[in-house]
């Protein structure tokens, strides 16, 4: 019972991160039709900046997270303007391959910036635990879920309630029509990248909080958000939240119970659970749980 509660909470914490990263993917996909393979690198850079603001400058955790997000938002906008804007009107997979190139570049830059020294994000959670129903829970897991959901809610409110959010949704719906209505479509692309990069940075900070430090190997965690958006549907924010939680919990439960009940699946099987779920989903619903079914016309 304690095991179950503990792994469920850990799963929800992980799921919160996946949801955050999933929303980051979805926002860019909706605006520009591109899957941003550079997200993992953006996440690591975000964690790096958060850590630097916390350690080198000595700012409190919350402030350094916000500053890290702001820096990444600017970097995201620059990337969009320099590398992605020229790709407007080109096939989506060419633009996606551009982001693969950016991923490689940023990964090296991040590795170099982090260097060999240990960099923590100076978070207040650490390895603190609280006891609930006899189960020992890490506060970081709860914090991850709460902060992720809050951040997604803020973005959701921004998209549905504000004028700019309306403009962004209009752009996602039909670029040419929005252009005709006086919306600066290019600026909306930049804004989408800014928001997405900021969310990736937040995910990076939350992922590094409560762990050993910032490393480039955490990039693989962000790639697990890809099964999340497949499960949720590429263009659905609601979908990526639900799918993120499903996949986080599934992964966590596998980590707890698979070594005991199905050891023949091998060590670290939980790492590939998201991909297996993704393949099953693609077989049954190729456009995900909440995605819009693509209408094909000749």
């Amino acid at each position: 019972m304690e095991d179950l509660i503990a792994s469920l909470v850990r799963g929800f914490g992980l799921g919160g991160l996946y949801a955050l990263l999933g929303v980051s993917f979805v926002i860019i996909y909706r605006a520009t039709g591109v899957i941003n393979f550079a997200t993992p690198a953006l996440m690591i850079l975000g964690a790096f900046f958060t850590g630097s603001f916390g350690n080198a400058v000595g700012l409190p955790f919350w402030l350094s997270v916000l500053l890290g997000m702001a820096v990444m938002a600017i970097i995201g906008m620059i990337i969009e303007r320099v590398a992605l804007r020229p790709m407007v009107g080109r096939p989506a997979f060419s633009a996606a391959t551009v982001t693969v190139g950016i991923f490689i570049i940023l990964l090296i830059v991040a590795g170099r910036l982090i260097g060999s020294e240990l960099l923590t994000v100076n978070d207040p959670f650490g390895l603190n635990t609280i006891d609930v129903l006899g189960a020992r829970l890490f506060t970081i897991d709860i914090a991850r879920l709460v902060i992720a959901l809050a951040a997604i809610a803020i973005v959701g409110l921004f998209l549905t309630r504000s004028r700019t959010g309306l403009a962004m949704r209009a752009t996602a719906f039909d670029q040419e029509t929005s252009l005709a209505q006086g919306i600066n479509v290019g600026r909306m692309f930049g804004l989408s990248w800014g928001i997405a990069a900021a969310m990736a940075a937040l995910a990076g900070a939350l992922l590094t909080a409560g762990s050993s430090g910032v490393e480039t190997t955490i990039a693989l965690v962000a790639l697990k958000a890809l099964p999340v958006i497949i499960l949720g549907g590429l263009d659905s924010i609601k979908g990526s939240v639900i799918a993120g939680l499903i996949i986080g919990v599934a992964e966590s439960l596998t980590r707890t119970y698979q070594p005991e009940f199905a050891p023949w699946l091998g060590a670290n099987f939980d790492v590939i659970v998201p991909y297996i779920i993704m393949i099953i989903v693609l077989m049954i619903r190729p456009y995900g749980l909440f995605g819009t079914k693509e209408v094909v016309r000749v």
Partner: protein, 381 residues
Amino acid sequence: MTTATKESRKTVRGRPQLFTSYAREMSIFNTRVKRNWAIVGILALGILPFLLQRDMVALLTTVLIYAIGGIGLNLLTGYAGQVSLGQAFFMGLGAYTAAVLGGESKGDVIGLGWDMAIWLPLAGLVPAVIALVLAPLAARVRGLYLAILTLGLVFIGEHIFKEAKPITGGAGVGRAPADPVFLGFDLFSNQTILGYRIDRFTIFYFATLVIFLVLAFAARNFVRSRFGRNFAAVRDRDVAAEVMGVSLLRTKTLAFAVSSFYAGISGALLSIVIGRISPETWNIFLSIDFLAVVFIGGLATITGSIMGAVFVVLLPKLVNWITGFIPGAGGIGDGGLLNVFELQTIIFGLLIVLFLILEPRGLYGLWLRLRNYFKAWPFSF
């Protein structure tokens, strides 16, 4: 062949673009210049290893192997329009098929020690069959969904490779690759042929060269066949292709199978060059390498894939060489701002981005521009 067709297949001197028959136009070398350059190129590839140092010969072998894999991915991505990040997985399958069939048994690791004449075709066929099984799933999804699906394949594959210890040796340990003994002749040991001592790198280079030439010409031939046209139709507009009677499922399945065949052969040969293969070799970054071969070389051109392979494999050497010449590059060398490996990787990423933005047709496109400039000289059109 009758005299009439023989006549019509000849090119008219001085007017290489005047084709008097479709067979002539569609032939692999449809102009005399192309044929002559191809002969020169093949001759150069034959002479090069005798002029170069040993490590360069090994590097040249890697170029050929990357070209094989690149051609395979280009058939799938460039011709059939299916973006795949799964190349590394199929290469791994090929490498392990070869290693199990052609390698030696050692400890818990299985190796049957068969001849290369058996394991080489099977190293291509086994990945092709696996691709056939997976293709119906891949054919359900389009575009970027497929890229993500194949990405998942690489991760799942890596896990399986790590766990299948009798086949792969397990994570971090690895195993020895297949022995390239072709019909009793060891292709990876020093030999004396007609009184000349030839070192093993050169021998293996020539073996790879032969395989490469066969596969490259086969690919060239394949894309001008009915299937190649089906590929292009599916790439350009899949719905329209289906309406015209091209079966999407069949075409995509075929594209996956052929591409995986090439990937398997390339993986098997690459494992021999590497010398010892661990499951971590077949990761997402290898897939990105091959994506770079295709995109930098140019989509939907076999020649381009070869150029791309030359470029991607020789880039590290090139970067090394250039930083050695720049006097102010001290900040770039080891211990400076970036080490050579980091610099290479960054340049690599930058080139992918720059080529896609500035010249989507890749190196082949650059060559076309250059050729057309001189063809029309002194006019600009």
